[in-house]
Amino acid sequence: MNCRSEVLEVSVEGRQVDEAMLALLHTILLHRSTGKFHYKKEGTYSIGTVGTQDIDCDYIDFSFVRVSSDELDRVIRKAVGEFKDAMGNGTDGMGQISLEFYQKKKSRWPFSDECIPWEVWSIKVNVVNLANEQERQICREKVGEKLGEKVINIVEVINQHEYLPKMPTQSEVDNVFDTSLKDVQPYLYKITFQITDTLGTSVSTTMRRLIKDTLAL
């Protein structure tokens, strides 16, 4: 199976990194989350309801919609915060944050479960430093427009209705969905990032952030 890979690129000012990443990651997760499954007898299940909420950005002229789940928001914010810290403060730089949706495939003992990605979104971020308030104001608007274009790109890709994992049985649901949240159920995902310093050499500080501890044997 081929994993679909999409790349989005944005240029932002330092203080806009958090919100820009949140906007794009949440937009993707909005489309890749369902309500909680409730399995019943006879192999049927019902699906909970996903609520949404509008979020206004403070440093960007932009608003986006995310799933109404504080838990999920916390997880994403934490990941974005780590990414931002790794990018450094106030310096120009480039980095890439990846949101990867995967399925777990149980392997026989003694092999550990495989994680098979089926969709990867890579957001390349270019951080710039601006000299004065006027430039920042222009940047606010421009980044807002850019993010709008990215949202349209995301929606275009998602609407191509390419591969989605089959709906799992009750015993398999944890191989497809992240069932740890109380209110919504995103597909299994992980967020990773890597930083490139201004010189362009890749600093191999690739940090893996596992949402589910699947690699421990």
Partner: protein, 545 residues
């Protein structure tokens, strides 16, 4: 040969999905243009009434308008459902901003599972719609509406019309979902040229009337292009022509089967009728902040009333007119407001505007000071020369202007024809001599019976007062926490001397004693003065913004 016809159950389900998808689409679009942030909760257990597993509120009026536009039909090939979003300024100019189109083309996907894949893809499409509605230019405009403009929506069914979007409009496709009977597509065409159109297209009319409103007014609930009479039939009765699919009372209880997909079990049950039949008058009480229409300007500016559009028929594209006039919505983001019950007006268009005016809410507000706005003066003069373009005689509209807190004036019943100015005493009168100006020469303080009153420079202290104006007699006054020996004027003395100040001159003027004719006569002079001081007013208004 594979039988590619839909089973009757599938056909029924598909029709239902399309219908509710259309209704939810309209809800999402309209709610995204109300000017407020939308927030709904996720529920881990399904309630059975959330279509497509998404928490999208149903604003009853919007549902009603959508159903009216659909008139029992479904979006189909050649029959598109469109939601048109436009902007209307306080001067009455309008501009179409975007048109959302739900269409169907002939490309069928016969193999797709209706009750499973189509349903989930429609859900995904709604999520995409939620995302895209925040991205088009009209979103930002709608978040800032209220002051100078409002955002309107109009639903129509039939052929898509994009001519009102100006040249160079852009299109964004939200998504497509293939079904066995055709492919549903959802897209948005939006205007890019936001330079304001002059009113060559619509006849510019003066505001119907000016109403002095300020900060404290509560927004009337006025999302309506039409008002409905009390005996309005509930929407469910409108769909006699349409067989099979019931109206919004129906809830969607969906169960899905996991393996294999061919064993999908889909039940739609009417069992849990939690939503009562929506009656329009009831729905107007729904506290949907976003639907409250704010037609006021702040502080001292005179408010406009959306003028009767003489070209109203043109504006509404009579060729496809099914629903009718634009429905107004929006609320300034920062201010709260409680929608008020709208009075019943069984008429359209201008009369609806009229109806909205007469719903001026019984809220407390302090009348604005006219002296602080040059613009207000102009609007005021325009409102005096009202052109009777409305079929209704709008000059007959009455409203009760309630007096705000801390104002010692009685409430006055006024007609819009007699715009007596509040704080009339403060309005500079050209013919007033300074000697007569109460602000320059304060009237004599009313005589008091206490020998300690009257003089503002009294140094006396410690004397007990005679019978004060109050009922109680102050025998000896020892104010708490004050000492007698520090200053000549101590707290007690101060209190005694200033205990009964004279009434403010402005509050003793009896406005009701002025006749309407006098008011009208004095207006031109007042206007002349305002126009003279127009720069001052403008500067003041700028400081407020």
């Amino acid at each position: 040969m594979m039988d590619s016809d839909l089973s009757p159950q599938d056909k029924k389900d598909l029709d239902k999905f399309i219908k509710f998808f259309a209704l939810k689409t309209v809800q999402v679009i309209v709610q995204a243009r109300l000017g407020e942030k939308v927030c709904t909760r996720s529920l881990s257990s399904p309630t059975g009434s959330d279509w497509f597993n998404l928490a999208i509120k149903d604003i009853p009026e919007v549902t009603h308008e959508a159903k009216k536009a659909l008139s029992g039909q479904l979006p189909g090939i050649g029959r598109s459902m469109c939601v048109e979003i436009s902007l209307k300024t306080s001067e009455g100019d309008s501009m179409e901003l975007e048109t959302w189109c739900l269409e169907m083309n002939e490309k069928c996907d016969k193999d797709i599972k209706v009750s499973y894949t189509v349903y989930n893809r429609l859900s995904l499409l709604l999520k995409s719609l939620l995302a895209i509605t925040r991205v088009t230019p009209a979103y930002k405009l709608s978040r800032k509406q209220g002051h100078d403009y409002v955002i309107l929506y109009r639903i129509y069914f039939g052929e898509v019309q994009l001519t009102g979007l100006g040249e160079g409009f852009q299109t964004v496709r939200v998504g497509v979902v293939g079904t066995p009977i055709g492919t549903i597509t959802l897209s948005c065409a939006y205007r890019t040229n936001l330079a304001f159109m002059s009113t060559r297209q619509f006849e510019r009319t003066a505001p119907i009337m000016g109403i002095i409103i300020d900060h404290f007014v509560e927004r009337p609930f006025g999302n309506m292009g039409h008002m409905r009479p009390c005996n309005y039939r509930a929407p469910g009765e409108d769909e006699g022509a349409y067989n099979g699919v019931e109206d919004s009372q129906e809830v969607c209880t969906t169960s899905f089967s996991t393996s294999p997909p061919s064993q999908c079990v889909f039940t739609v049950s009417k069992a849990h009728l939690k939503t009562p039949k929506p009656a329009v008058m009831d729905t107007l009480k729904v506290p949907m902040m976003g639907l409250a229409f704010s037609h006021q300007l702040y502080c001292s500016r005179l408010s406009y009333q959306p003028p009767v559009l003489v070209g109203a028929a043109d504006f509404c594209h009579p060729s496809t007119l099914n629903a009718a006039n634009p429905h107004q919505m929006g609320i300034p983001g920062k201010e709260g407001g409680v929608p008020q019950q709208v009075p019943v007006q069984p008429c359209h268009g201008a009369q609806a505007e009229h109806g909205r005016v007469s719903s001026c809410p019984p809220a407390d507000h302090v009348p604005a000071t006219p002296s602080s706005s040059g613009e207000g003066a102009e609007t005021l003069s325009r409102s005096i020369e009202v052109k009777g373009v409305s079929p209704c005689d709008v000059l007959e509209t009455t409203f009760t202007r309630k007096v705000g807190a801390f104002v010692n004036k009685p409430g006055t019943q006024v007609t819009t024809a007699s715009l007596d100015l509040p704080f009339a005493a403060f309005a500079p009168r050209a013919y007033d001599l300074e000697e007569n100006d109460p602000m320059v020469q304060p009237p004599e303080s009313p005589a008091t019976s206490s020998p300690l009153q009257g003089s503002l420079h009294s140094q006396g202290s410690g004397e007990s007062g005679g019978p004060a104006q109050d009922d109680f007699v102050m025998v000896d006054f020892k104010p708490a926490f004050s000492k007698d020996d520090l200053l000549p004027m101590d707290l007690g003395t101060f209190y005694r001397e200033f205990q009964n100040p004279p009434q403010l001159a402005s509050l003793t003027i009896d406005v009701s004693s002025q006749s309407m004719a006098e008011d009208l006569d004095s207006l031109p002079e007042k206007l002349a003065v305002y126009e003279k001081n127009i720069d001052e007013f403008d500067a003041f208004v700028d400081t407020l913004q």
